[in-house]
């Protein structure tokens, strides 16, 4: 794999994580637990989709075959998406949504922070912009996790159950492959071992505030980077791409 191929794959993965999580959060519009949280989630989704657009536009330039952001979002099949399994997990209840956000944003924030120092100027620039947004997302979602965990017996039980269900998807974020290795060696990209250590401390502190125990789950499910997704991904992609698949080339 050449440096450019790795940079393209890495940029697309960043875009895929942001787009798929943004799409999941959009599903909460008109289905949030309360108006304020609906607005918060819609705003987060907007940030994620905006970030995906920046990553996809850049990917199109690296690839140099004339593909634009919409081509990457709407004209690839589920196997071509390389997002983590964590971000495609169904919304479930509000506790699931918050736990998913905290686990992912804690990682993504650290990843972006590391990318601000990478040698690829464009990725570093996007990372500065996006990092500020993820910073306040995490402030909001981690406070919610504390409220749920340290709230009532019911909310504590549901947050515990959500954490138990989603924890097994977190390990994938640190299981890098050739693309991550090249990005680190050739572009001074993120060191996943360092990020994992920082992430563990960060998440442990939030869980401690939330009176939630770190799950004793050792089983890690991976495959997202290689396009091996969970069952729910196909449904998400089908809904997201419906318009462009049914009415190819439609514009408005």
């Amino acid at each position: 794999m050449t440096k450019d191929e790795a940079l393209l794959a890495y940029t697309l993965r960043l875009g895929d994580n942001a787009l798929i999580l943004g799409q999941r959060l959009i599903e909460l519009v008109a289905a949030g637990p309360e108006l304020e949280e609906e607005l918060a989630n819609a705003n987060f989704a907007l940030d994620f989709i905006g970030q995906a657009r920046m990553f996809y536009s850049y990917a199109g330039e690296i690839e140099g075959k004339g593909r634009c952001e919409d081509d990457f979002a709407f004209l690839r099949d589920d196997r071509e998406f390389a997002n983590f399994l964590l971000v495609e997990q169904p919304n479930g209840h509000f506790g699931d949504v918050i736990v998913r956000q905290v686990l992912f944003d804690s990682f993504y924030g650290l990843q972006l922070e590391a990318l601000t120092k990478c040698k690829d100027k464009r990725l570093a620039e996007i990372a500065v912009r996006a990092g500020k947004e993820i910073c306040y997302h995490l402030r909001h979602t981690s406070q919610w996790l504390v409220r749920l965990g340290d709230g009532t017996a019911e909310s504590h039980a549901r947050a515990t159950e959500a954490l138990g269900r989603l924890w097994r998807y977190a390990g994938e974020m640190f299981a890098g492959d050739e693309v991550d290795i090249i990005l680190q060696s050739a572009f001074d990209g993120p060191d996943l071992e360092t990020i994992e250590a920082q992430w563990s401390l960060k998440v442990a502190a939030i869980l401690d505030d939330a009176t939630l125990a770190i799950p004793d789950e050792k089983w890690i499910i991976g495959g997202g980077r290689q396009g091996h997704h969970s069952e729910s991904m196909g449904f998400l992609v089908a809904e997201m791409q419906f318009l462009q698949r049914a009415y190819a080339g439609a514009t408005w």
């Binding site: 940030d47 994620f48 657009r53 910073c135």
Partner: protein, 163 residues
């Protein structure tokens, strides 16, 4: 090469008349998103996007092109500059005053990382200047604003968050 015969100051003056589509009392120069104007064979305006997902970005770019066309400049292009990233610290003093007069509390405490992580201090009510205010919702009608209520004059208001 034909060079457009116009001064940079003149272009900036025209751009000062282009409103932000979400908060029309503010111009795009008040908002601090016009980063550069260069004049050669055409006029190139460098704009910094605010939030990544801000739907106003494209509208603003088009309004800049339309405005300069109206002013007689045919060859205009807009360049998006990501770095340095836009921050609410770039909103001008005049812009902050316009926001307050419009009923939106301007961002007050700077956009340091500490502010992003822990920020939540007293925001002055744009109507009566009371500091006895409370946040109703961290998110509002647009990503850049939170919803607040004044406990003295009881008016609801929006607060332009620091980022």
């Amino acid at each position: 090469m034909v060079v457009v015969d116009i001064s940079r100051e003149q272009v900036l003056e025209w751009l000062h008349e282009v409103p932000d589509p979400e908060i029309p009392v503010l111009s795009i120069t008040d908002l601090g998103i016009v980063r550069d104007v260069s004049i050669g064979s055409k006029v190139v305006v460098a704009l910094a996007p605010t939030y990544s997902g801000c739907p106003a970005t494209e509208v603003i770019e088009q309004s800049v092109i339309d405005k300069l066309h109206d002013c007689g400049i045919d060859d205009v292009s807009v360049k998006r500059v990501l770095s340095p990233a836009w921050t609410t610290d770039w909103i001008s003093a005049d812009g902050r005053k316009k926001l307050r007069d419009y009923g939106i509390a301007p961002p007050e405490y700077g956009a340091s990382k500490r502010e992003l992580l822990h920020g939540r201090r007293n925001v002055a009510c744009p109507q009566c200047a009371s500091l006895r205010t409370a946040m109703v919702s961290e998110f509002g009608s647009t990503p850049c604003k939170a919803s607040y209520r004044c406990n003295d004059c009881l008016e609801p208001f929006e607060y332009f968050k620091c980022i």
